[in-house]
Symmetry: C2
Subunit: 346 residues, 2 copies
DNA sequence: GCGGGGGTATAGAGCGCTCTCCTGAAGGCC
DNA sequence: GGCCTTCAGGAGAGCGCTCTATACCCCCGC
C-alpha cells in the first residue's frame, strides 16, 4: 500500500525461480518440488508479498465477491435514499439475510458487496457495477413485487439468485417460503383456539409476500366458514402495526384474534391492545410472522410463523456460487416450509 | 458476462478512433472534440460496452470499494462464527452504522464490502484481503477493546478509520462518542428525578464504550454523594439485560432507578421490572443508551442517551475517503456529543 | 549407449485498461 | 510568410497476474 508493494517478479527474483513457479506455489497448482516450494515460501515471507487482486481478477475473471442488493421499487427520490436504507435495517429481517449469506460465503473466503437499488439512479448504478464485473454475481432481495432489477440482471447475463419469486417470470433461480401455508397455520391456530372475530394486519400489498400471506389467510378463513375478514394494510414496521390495529379496533371493538404479517407489526398490535385495556392473549390472541428477534422481545412473547430466513439466505448464496462455478446452469427454485411457533400471545 | 464482452478496443474500432480517445471520453479527461465524443458515445451504446473493473483497478490502484469490518476479540471458534454474525445484527446498532456509511459512500458510487473478523482465521483473511487491494481502505467497528486488527491494518499501511478509540494508541483516525458525558447525563437525570437507590447494568466490560459509560456514571454518582453503585454486567443483549436486572433486584429490592448501558438491555430491564410488579417509571425509573429503535419500541418508551450513530458512521466514511484521496494525511479524531432524550421511562 | 517418457521449471503471450509521450495540425505573432 | 506555441488525437508501454506452450532434466529400458 504505502511503498511500492512487492510483485510476483520480486519474489521470483528473491527465490531465484520464475514468476510462473511462484504463482504455482501460491495457487497450489501441479507438483512443484517440495524443496523449491520452501524456498519460494520463504521468499514470500521475506518480501511480505501479497498477490494483487486486480491483476488476478483481470485474467481469472473472478472477484471472489458477490453483490448483495437490496432492491426497492425504484421510485425512491434521490434525497430519500438514506431513509430507505435506515428502514431496511430497522427490521431484523435483513440482518438475518446477511447472517445467512455470510454463513455460506465465509468458508469460501468470499465477501458480500452491499448495494442498495432503491432509486432509479442507484439501480442503474448497481446494474453497471455488475456488468463491469465488480462482483461475480448478485443476490437480490426485493422489497417490491414489480422490481425491474431481476430482469435487467438476467438480460445482462449476470449470475443472479433472488430472495422471493419474482412477480413476472424471469429465468433466474430463487428461494422462497410457502407463505400461504404459513398464513394457513396462523388462521387455523386462531380458529382452533376458539377465536370468532378475527382480523388481519397485512404487509404492504406491493410486496408479493404480503399478498400471499393475505391470500392464504383469507382462503383458510373462508374454508372454515369465515368469508369476511377485516383487513388493514401495514408497512412491516412497528408504527404501522400500531396504526393498523387502532383502525381495526375502532371498527371492530369485539375482535378476539389478530394475524399480523410480520412480528414487528404484531408487536405494535400488542402494544395498542394493551393500551386499550385488552389483555393478550386472554382477550385477544395475536399471531405474528417471521419468528424474528422481535417475537421473543415482545411482551407477551409472540406466537408466530417461523420463516427460516438465515437458512433461506444461505441456500440463496449456495445457488449463486453454484451458478458462478458453472456447476448449475439451469435456474432452480427452493421453497421452504414455514412452521408455527407457539409462545404466549396466542 | 455471457458471450465475449466488448472491450475498449472494440469500441475504438467501431468509432474509428484510438483506444485512448474512447478512454478519454469515458473518463471525461482533457478536451475531446464534441463531435467525436458523440461518435464515441454512440459506439459505446451500439456495442453495449462496459469498462472492465479489474483492468481499470490494475492501473489506477483503486477499487472504489471500502471494507466495512466488524471485528471481534478474535477468540471466536470457527464453528461459532455464524453466531457472532447473528448477534451483531440482533442489535439495531450495526444497521445504523451501515446506514450512515452508505449515506456517505452512495453519492460517491462506492460500496461497502462486508467483512467479519471474529475468529483468528477471519481476521487474517480480512487483513490479507486488504493487503491484496480488495478495497481501498477499511472501516473498522470493533466489538472488543483489545482488538488487534487496527494495529495490523496500520502496519500494513491500509487506510483505516475506526469507530471508537482503540484501547492502545494506533496511528489511525477514529470517530467516537463522549461516553462519559452521556453517562453523566443519565446519572444526573435519575438523581434530579429524586431517585435514591440507583443501580446500573453495564455492557460487556471488555468493550471500552462500556467501561467509559460505567466510569462516567460512577463518577457523577460519586460527585453527587453516592459513592457506591450496585453494578451488574450485561452483554448488550435483551436477555442479558433481563438477567442482570433479576440479579440486581434480588440483592436490592428497594431500587428506584436504573441506568442500562444500551437500549436493548434497558428494554430487558423494563420487562423484568414489570414482571416483578414494579411500574416504570413510577416505582423505578429506567434510562437507556443509544436512542435506537428499541427505545421507541419499548413500553414505556425509553428515556435514553442519544448516540448519533448514523452521523458518526457517515463521518467515519468521510474521513476514510479523505485519507484515500490523500486530502488528509495525518490521523484525526472526531468526538461526538451525546444528548439526553427524555421519554416516558424516566 | 541412445531414444523415449514422465514430469518440472521457464518463457512469454496476453487479460483490458490508463497514461505518458509524441506527432501533426491549427493558429498567433512578428 | 515563417516560426513558435497550443492543443487534439494516436501509439505504445506498462499495471501484475495466469496459463499455455516449450525447453529441460533425469531416469528407464532395450
Amino acid at each position: 500500500m504505502s511503498r511500492q508493494a512487492p510483485t510476483l517478479e520480486d519474489v521470483a527474483r528473491e527465490a531465484g525461480v520464475s514468476r510462473a513457479t511462484v504463482s504455482r506455489v501460491i495457487n497450489g497448482v501441479r507438483s512443484v518440488d517440495p524443496a523449491l516450494q520452501d524456498v519460494v515460501r520463504q521468499a514470500i515471507e521475506r518480501t511480505g508479498y501479497a498477490p494483487n487482486r486486480a491483476a488476478r481478477s483481470l485474467v481469472t475473471r473472478r472477484t471472489e465477491t458477490v453483490a448483495l442488493i437490496v432492491s426497492g421499487a425504484g421510485d425512491v427520490a434521490d434525497e430519500d435514499e438514506n431513509a430507505f436504507t435506515a428502514q431496511v435495517f430497522a427490521d431484523p429481517f435483513f440482518g438475518r439475510v446477511v447472517t445467512g449469506v455470510v454463513a455460506h460465503l465465509r468458508p469460501r473466503s468470499m465477501h458480500p458487496l452491499l448495494m442498495f437499488a432503491d432509486s432509479a439512479r442507484t439501480r442503474q448504478q448497481a446494474l453497471n457495477d455488475l456488468r463491469q464485473g465488480s462482483a461475480d454475481g448478485a443476490l437480490v432481495v426485493s422489497t417490491h413485487a414489480d422490481d425491474p432489477l431481476p430482469a435487467l440482471l438476467a438480460d445482462a447475463g449476470v449470475p443472479t439468485v433472488l430472495f422471493a419469486r419474482p412477480s413476472r417470470p424471469v429465468p433466474l433461480s430463487y428461494v422462497d417460503l410457502a407463505h400461504r401455508d404459513g398464513a394457513r397455520m396462523a388462521a387455523e391456530h386462531l380458529l382452533d383456539r376458539g377465536c370468532r372475530k378475527i382480523v388481519t394486519v397485512t404487509g404492504p400489498l406491493g410486496v408479493s409476500a404480503s399478498q400471499e400471506r393475505l391470500a392464504g389467510f383469507r382462503d383458510t378463513m373462508a374454508r372454515r366458514g369465515h368469508p369476511y375478514v377485516p383487513v388493514a394494510e401495514g408497512g412491516f414496521t412497528l408504527d404501522s402495526g400500531m396504526a393498523a390495529m387502532s383502525d381495526l379496533l375502532a371498527e371492530h371493538p369485539d375482535v378476539d384474534g389478530v394475524f399480523a404479517a410480520n412480528d414487528l407489526m404484531a408487536q405494535g398490535v400488542c402494544q395498542i391492545l394493551r393500551e386499550r385495556g385488552r389483555s393478550v392473549p386472554d382477550d385477544v390472541a395475536v399471531v405474528g410472522f417471521d419468528d424474528s428477534a422481535a417475537a421473543v422481545a415482545c411482551r407477551p412473547p409472540l406466537t408466530t410463523v417461523r420463516q427460516p430466513v438465515e437458512e433461506m439466505a444461505s441456500v440463496m448464496a449456495r445457488l449463486l456460487t453454484e451458478h458462478i462455478q458453472g456447476v448449475r446452469t439451469e435456474p432452480t427454485s427452493v421453497i421452504f416450509d414455514p412452521e408455527l411457533v407457539v409462545r404466549a400471545s396466542a
